[in-house]
Amino acid sequence: MGRQLLLDNLDKPGINTLSGYQETGGYESLRKALQMKPEDIVAEVQKSGLRGRGGAGFPTGMKWSFLAKPPGEPRYLICNADESEPGTFKDRYLMQRKPHILIEGMIISSFALGANTSYIYIRGEMMYVYHILQKAIDEAYAAGYLGKNILGSGFDLDLHVHCGAGAYICGEETALLESLEGKRGNPRIKPPFPAVKGLWGCPTVVNNVETIAAVVPIIRITGEEYAKIGIGKSTGTKLISASGHINKPGVYEIELGVPVEEFIYSDQYCGGIRNGKKLKAVVAGGSSVPVLPADLILKTANGEPRLMTYESLADGGFATGTMLGSGGFIVMDEDTSVVKNVWNFSRFYHHESCGQCSPCREGTGWMYKILSRLLDGKGETKDIDLLWDIQRKIEGKTICPFGDAAAWPVAAAIRHFRSEFEQYIDKGNSDVKHYYRINNLQES
């Protein structure tokens, strides 16, 4: 097990309370940060090489440096806790177990950016986490970490938790802003980017929970030290939500650069495939990223071992690679049907599309219907080409990346598992009824 910067001391009783968190050195980074100049904190984050942990992997320090600073206008920091990607559950785990690390990160980041009001936008389904966070914030207010003149530094910060209503699209940063403003959660057209015109038209930074939490250890151990962890441009540690047919599903903090093979088979991490089965495929970064078959996830097309880094997983582009994404690591064993898996994903995207852009609104539903027909054993060979054509016409044609996220899983499943689609068409599907029964779905 590598260094644990976020999930350390999790077993300590009372780590979710202020006193427990302080006993493990909590809020020391904040004291240190308040002695620093805000621009030095930004520089420190830039030095650390920290990249956005929400999925896109954009360098956080650079994002912060883009923030416009017009005089007389408030700036906002928003924490995106609308974690709804199927297969990803790291933020929820972190907030639930160690809420104060997020709050400490929010205070440091707000100080660095000059924001006096900050928000945590949390997904509606995670109401219990909302209560945990709210309790932690109340504790922080009482201890003087929030409110006016924090620890005598003259810096004021109000931190609010806002509960969404459970829409996946509100995890898109501009849709999140709309939702936070009390409007319909539709993504905005960019430009202008939130760094220039965000919440209520003011400069805004939106960061993932894990990104903001990672600022705390960066300040503690310095950016240079943080940058030593990991390989190349993938620095630091990353939370991976491992799920699927593995012996030990759960959230793991890895040092970026662990080989995928080690991550799946080592007893420190996933502990191998359940029931001694063989590995068939992996969705490496949450439902949106392309699925890869076993041989390509363990080794790149050049035969090099694939590592858990942004670059190594993306090696070979989408033809033979995938993305680290949000770290939702879904493992499928040899008995799994990739077609059913992609059907499930497409059902999700069909349900969650906001409906602004016509390709996404209509295309996601169309793909879902074609895949349902395929699963029913009523598919035709031309359906595979049709699916391919539809996903191509959605990808890159929409306002926000949702269209891409809906198109990529379908594309990758066809690219790597075409024969499986053909099997469904040739033989019909004998176990569909079984599938419907075990999942309590209405057969239509």
Partner: protein, 332 residues
Amino acid sequence: MARVTIDGHTIEVPDGTTIVEAARKIGGDIVPPTMCYYSTLKTSGGYCRTCLVKVTKGSDKDPRPMPKLVVACRQTVMDGMEVQNITSPEVLEAREGVVEFLLLNHPLDCPVCDQAGECDLQDLSYEHGDEGTRTVFRRRTFPMRDIGDKIKLHMNRCIMCYRCVKVAEQLCPERVHGVLNRGWDAEISTYIEKAIDNEWSGNMIDVCPVGALTDKTFRFKSRVWFTKPLDAHRDCDVCCGRVALWVSGDAVLRVTGRKGVYHEIENTEDGKPGWICNTCRFEKKNLSDWVIEGPRHIDRHSVISQNHYEQLKQLKQDLSRQKLIGEKAHNN
């Protein structure tokens, strides 16, 4: 000022102009089609994706091409920008895809739809779509609704362009009109079926690119191409009073705003959009209510212009245009 080149035509436009507006200044075939963009409605556009174009050169300062296709209606021009519209196969293919998506759940009930003949979706699918359909699934349906007592909402035909929402937002204060539900199931509605009671609500009919919002005083009265458009005006306390009358014999069947080349409301002399009020639209249905200015020129490529008084002139223009295109193709 910014110099922008669209399909080889260069034009200089003020900074902050969108690609569509720049293209409209050039005119002709290189103007990207728009379904949701409406120049007089703020924040409209960006949703339907029919105006996607390819930016092959970002600007003189930053000549990199843009990685994805961009929406011409919201992307502003930069000095030295180069744009491909009909010269890019990628754009044409994407547009064909968008047409297919827009028609996926459209009922295609043109034979009974009042919009037929002046429908943007008809024109779009005719000009940019592919033949035939690849979907065999049951189309999405909604119940019919009334938006106030004069407007019928036929949600099945809606393409979710949000134009009527922008009208409600920008012309009608205290709006109760908006979008309900999400994605596939999203629909235009007045909250809790509350009727819209506003002098300007009728303009939603004018901005609707399809037959989703129709005038209840005109529904099923006549096909639009059997009516004669006349320019007319009256003194109105509320609006500019400049309208287009759609007349059959002596009967005024329909009153609409005056729409220009791109099927958008024309500006009045003082430069403001010529929105008309509900009194002019729904209640002044006698020729004696109006001062007739003369026949209205319908400068559209749709079917109405084909049965127009200016038919011959139009035909001549069309033929010479076709000839030009032919010659150009031949020379290439």
